[in-house]
């Protein structure tokens, strides 16, 4: 049979190679095209902002008029971690100095991380854990803490005080942001 003999002999090499190249190129092309969404999908957390800390509202400027005592505020901190949003509440102190400059202090003691209360009778921040003492503007007065109270990045938007809450490394003389 003529057809059989034709099939028994393998097709000539150039035709096979050409088709093979065509198929390989086609497959590679489609594969590359499909790889685009896959790569974008995988790289999403790297390219988009999926973990971020936003500015937290502290309160209206009008609430912070007293230059003699700090105002304690609990701020809501939202941290976005992929599909989770962690909400933390952290205490901060808003202090206004004689020149009208507003400063926001983290209430975390620079020694071992206790929350420092304002003691009105002594006009000082006194840490309950190891008696570290700080002045109204957060300057270290005495005790084991290695540095002043930490100042948080602050800005005023439309009369609203906003901060970026940060955590600082304890027990070292220089301020170092850890989160």
């Amino acid at each position: 049979m003529n057809a059989t003999s034709q099939i028994e002999n393998p097709p000539v090499v150039p035709r096979r190679s050409f088709l093979a190249a065509l198929l390989a190129a086609g497959t590679a092309g489609v594969g590359l095209l499909l790889a685009v969404p896959v790569v974008r999908f995988v790289l999403h957390p790297v390219l988009a902002r999926t973990t971020e800390k936003s500015w937290s509202e502290v309160g209206n400027v009008s609430e912070f008029q007293s230059p003699t005592a700090p105002v304690k505020k609990l701020v809501q901190i939202e941290q976005l971690d992929g599909w989770r949003r962690t909400v933390l509440q952290k205490p901060v102190y808003v202090v206004k100095d004689s020149s009208g400059q507003i400063t926001v202090l983290s209430a975390v003691c620079t020694h071992l991380g206790c929350t420092v209360p304002w003691v009105e009778e002594q006009k000082k921040f006194i840490c309950p854990c190891h008696k570290g003492m700080f002045s109204l503007d957060g300057k270290l007065l005495s005790g084991p803490p290695p540095r002043n109270m930490d100042v948080l990045p602050m800005r005023v938007e439309n009369g609203v005080v906003k901060i970026q809450y940060q955590f600082f490394r304890q027990l070292i003389p220089n301020k170092e942001v850890i989160a």
Binding site: I7, L19, T27, R85
Partner: protein, 493 residues
Amino acid sequence: MHKPPSRVDGNKLDGDKQSVAGRLVRWNEQRTGLNSLLRYALDEPIPGGAKLAYVFGSALLFLFISQVVTGVFLAMYYVPSADHAHTTVAYIAKEVSAGSFLRSIHAYGSSAIVIVLLLHLIQTFTYGSYKGRRELLWMAGCILMALMLGMAFTGYLLPWDQKAYFATTVGTNILSEVPLIGNALKSLLRGGTEMGTLTLSRFFVLHVFLIPGLIFLFVAQHIYLFRKAGAAGPATSDPENAGLPSERFYPKQLIMDMGFALLIIVVLGLFAWHSPTSLGPRADPSETAFLPRPEWYYIPVFQYLKYWTPSTAVIGILVIPGIIGLLLVGLPFFDRTLERRPWKRPISVGMFAAIFLALGFFGIQSHREDANNPGVATQIQKQKQQEEEFMKQPFQPESVVAGGAAAATASLDGSAAQGQKLFVDQSCNACHGDAGVGGGVGPKLIGVGKKYDAQKLESLMKSPSAAMTAGGMPAVDLKPDEMKALIAYVESL
């Protein structure tokens, strides 16, 4: 010293033996045999030549691989827990770059598999390709079909939206109709009597590990048995010895197969691009009005099951499907003649067509019943709207309250609640963590109440041990009732 054997006596291969590429191919071939394997695959003889009718098997393999690839990537963001599943799927669909596209390819891919599976079944059935020592090949195919339907069923629950939850509730309820062991089976599949997070875990494991593992196994067997028996060729030929001139798989059949695969992926891509799979609102088990409807390919079965009352259910869900399943799986044993032409096999072809007609009828009937019942039509329309509205809303991340302290407060009695306030005011939480979960500095306090009694705790707090002092623990100076409250709280941890 004996003379080492010559190194050029390897397999004879194509290509220029002097060129780098040729030497590389030979090097690889001598170690892996990959070239011979590829040659064996491409040189598969097809009696009667290549045909478009033969493309469905390889298309199924292609679709399965596509499902595996997209599935693996989806798992990069998915969490199989009733708490997070819906949020993570919404995150994939609404936030992640190309997430909606990949999810849609995966979801529409399941429909494509069902369609191509039916085409493959119809083709091999009408061509009588199960004949001629192909019983095991056919049975492996039947098992693969069951496994694929299992994949569709288990995958449907994973997004944990309303339709997924309620459709699976109905789907798993069918099991309880099985006599004697029905409820035990249902509980086994659900991981309890009710649907819940354990059901989701089980379905996830089935969908991602167990069933795919079995599919890989049976695909390998199916392909092996197919090559062992050889391609059957056209329906007019003898199934054991076609006696026709054969054509090699490569290039014509391969081009047809690849062309069809390309068509499938283009169609899937267009669907995914233009109408992405939607996600409904999160499953709410307390919702009573929700009308579950399965995916389109399960609608005929869904409708069929409506016709059975509790007293006749055994016939409907066990006897009839059992007989049909047995007829299908055992087909090569019942239909033993070597006659392959469909018009010469009226009984088997007639039964096969009758089953398909019945399924089609049930599908149309289901659609008509839903459309003709105003209450049902309105509710289904409402569900569709709710789904569209949910898709329009921006992604809502899952809110987590740090430390879970708020949740713990609710269950505390008066004294311990006061103690919790002191725990925060005295900055105990700074070192021991919120709710005593432990922090960087101090040890965790959870369970400390079981280790020490109230008296011991009080003395330790008033005068800490040397080790505690070294760790930074100050002496606690409180009024007696405050100390009592603080200890009550610490003991509650």
